[in-house]
Symmetry: C2
Subunit: 408 residues, 2 copies
């Protein structure tokens, strides 16, 4: 179905030019797992010394590949690493057969690449509950390994798409001590997107040097303010995986480098926003800025309550400046709020304050904000210093069309 959906109106004009990440080679191929006539599998192989960090869905029904990746994180990095991803089948809720599929794929990749099985990470995305035809994937591994290339990130991003309408990539380069460090990432995700877990499939690579513990800490910290602050439909995938791999091939140790952290955060924010921009049926990209909450955690609770509200999201789809629904979503969130201290703005238009509509608010000013492709909703609780920004999209007929028909 992914192939037939129109490209999101919120998509970037084209896939970005990504830098080569030293120590990384990739290849995409067509295994015919479910989709025909397109690539549906990608292999990434990284040099010895590559450290690997990851965050994953906290779903109690997470998939076999997620469980396998979690178990392998933090292992010996001396031998390098590989990642194999397929689309079209998530290998989730497939019982012991699912674990067998993962084991067989890992064994085959290890055999052909010469890497230890403990350094082979896999992911699967697509329909839940159907057996993964892993033989079709295994049959492609030799060709994938033979075709490995340093410039195949875009092909890899395309191979992992499901209901995505565009391939997602982002990059940054920073100079540290006169040396250039590169970061490049790819992502897939469009529906079954909710925060507070890892999210979707995201692979970020850098040629920086960073020990695994530091790499993991940095990934977790930045994930909380990027991927964990987006939502399309409040539904959390069984397969969400975000991996960050540092090949070290630049020779630059980025421990405690603020520049590197900033660059990595920029890449993660860019990719996470692209996922929202490709939200199923999305026509509006919505940033929700919460300030004045009792704590950052309560700010996030309010932000996600607004971002996940079907009534707020349908109002945005209808270009209706329906701030009453924002009031409703704040009221139901469970976090602290005081009606008379709240203020709400759409973009720069102050809509409500002191427990009621702002005296200078004109409906046409709010309506003008809602006609934009990118909408900002600002809420100040007036209670404390807690802040959070979350991102979401609108809820449209196209979401229903996609999800009443598509078996994911």
């Amino acid at each position: 179905m992914g192939d037939s959906l129109p490209r999101s109106p919120l998509a970037p004009s084209s896939f970005p030019q990504l830098p080569v990440i030293k120590g990384l080679r990739l290849c995409a191929g067509a295994a015919g797992v479910k989709y025909q006539g397109r690539n549906d599998v990608m292999l990434a192989v990284m040099d010895p010394g590559t450290t690997v960090a990851g965050t994953f869905t906290r779903s109690k029904t997470r998939s076999a590949p997620v469980r396998d990746c979690q178990a392998k994180l933090g292992g010996d990095s001396s031998a390098g690493a590989a990642i194999l991803v397929n689309s079209g089948n998530s290998n989730a809720f497939t019982g012991h057969y699912g674990q067998t599929s993962v084991a067989e794929i890992c064994a085959a990749v290890a055999d052909i690449t010469g890497l230890p099985e403990a350094r082979i990470f896999t992911a699967s995305t697509g329909v839940i509950g159907e057996p993964l035809p892993h033989d079709r994937i295994i049959a492609q591994i030799k060709d994938l390994n033979d075709g490995l290339d340093a410039t195949a990130l875009e092909a890899a991003a395309e191979a992992i798409m499901t209901t995505d309408t565009f391939a997602k990539g982002a990059s940054a380069e920073v100079t540290i001590g006169g040396e250039t460090v590169s970061i490049a990432g790819i992502a897939k995700g469009s529906g079954m997107i909710a925060p507070d877990m890892a999210t979707m499939l995201v692979y970020i690579f850098t040629d920086a040097q960073l020990p695994q513990a530091a790499l993991q800490a940095e990934l977790s910290r930045l994930c909380d303010r990027s991927f964990n602050c987006i939502t399309v439909d409040s539904d959390t995938s069984t397969s969400d995986s975000l991996m960050l791999c540092a090949t070290g091939a630049s020779g630059v140790d980025v421990s405690d480098s603020a520049e590197f952290s900033q660059a990595l955060e920029a890449v993660m924010l860019d990719l996470s926003h692209q996922v929202v921009r490709d939200g199923e049926g999305a026509t509006k990209f919505v940033e929700i800025q919460i300030t004045g909450a009792v704590s950052d955690a309560e700010a996030k609770t309010h932000g996600l309550s607004i971002a996940n509200s079907p009534l707020v999201k349908t109002a945005i789809a209808g270009e209706d400046p329906n701030w009453g629904r924002v009031v409703m979503a704040i009221g139901k969130s469970g976090a602290d709020a005081d009606r008379d201290l709240l203020s709400i703005s759409f973009g720069d238009v102050l809509v409500a304050e002191k427990g009621w509509v702002s005296p200078n608010y004109r409906e046409e000013d709010g309506a003008a904000q809602m006609t934009r492709d990118e909408i900002t909703i600002k809420v100040d609780l007036g209670l404390g210093d807690g802040t959070c920004t979350v991102w979401t999209c609108d809820l449209t007929h196209q979401y229903i069309t996609i999800n009443a028909d598509y078996r994911s």
Copy 2:
């Protein structure tokens, strides 16, 4: 907008015949608050000695009438009581003006009915954030009082509708010690319906005798297993109010009467299910039975996670037996689950067990279940004795149509 929506395909064939509740008289009228050409206000007046219980939204941005009702519960019941409800405007997030509106309406009702202001309860339902034109309501009170009648429950149910496509009523009669006790209730609600608060506007009357504390305890207990177990769209209203009034006019004390409790529960379940059946855009009524959870609370968490999942609800709309999305919703709920102990059935069709699709499951059997108007999803966690049943509807194009246009 309510007038132009087609009647829900899940609606009962007609409004039920309701018994007369001794000690209760009602009248509906047209104040022109927002809607034209229909009734939009109702007054109920009850005899001296009537005890009044209520549960209300826990929203932090709850409306002025909700706050006023909460403050008045538990007061002296010797003088009787009155309830005045308008539709078209919720008087929520209307600042101090909202409180003034409530006070002026209560003063006018007290003046004309001769009841003390402390026994006048009001509710408003409709658009949030616009000033309530309370003068239009006050102008109708004398006519409403003059027209009070014991048989006007259906007219009252119609007057409080907003996006509802049918008026909702339910009743029961029980014989206790040779005497008949009657219960009759009305409700409105269609969108912005979520549990764990009170819910919507619901008024239940009985001529039973029950002290206020016992009445309140009974209402709260039964609310937790009826109205607090339904959801249309996970969004919680700022105006939710459920009131139960016992006029005592039957002369029958129902303290500790199991028959009365069962009859009251039946009325509350019936009304709560009618709200789901009138869920905005609903074409399927869905009962979700959770068993085998660690606790009843965890069973409810799982049930609501399934019931509120946009992906589950759109799959049901598409008549797709997509049990993978049920697995997803269980996994994300936060409550305990073990993939390999779970079993899932659609109606009597066992779909998944032991961590995977059931070996005897045939897709056509699941698909046949999904073509029904009323669908049962059964989930057994296999962990403990916790159970809960929740009710919801599907998520359709019509929900988007209603909510991308309607200002509620």
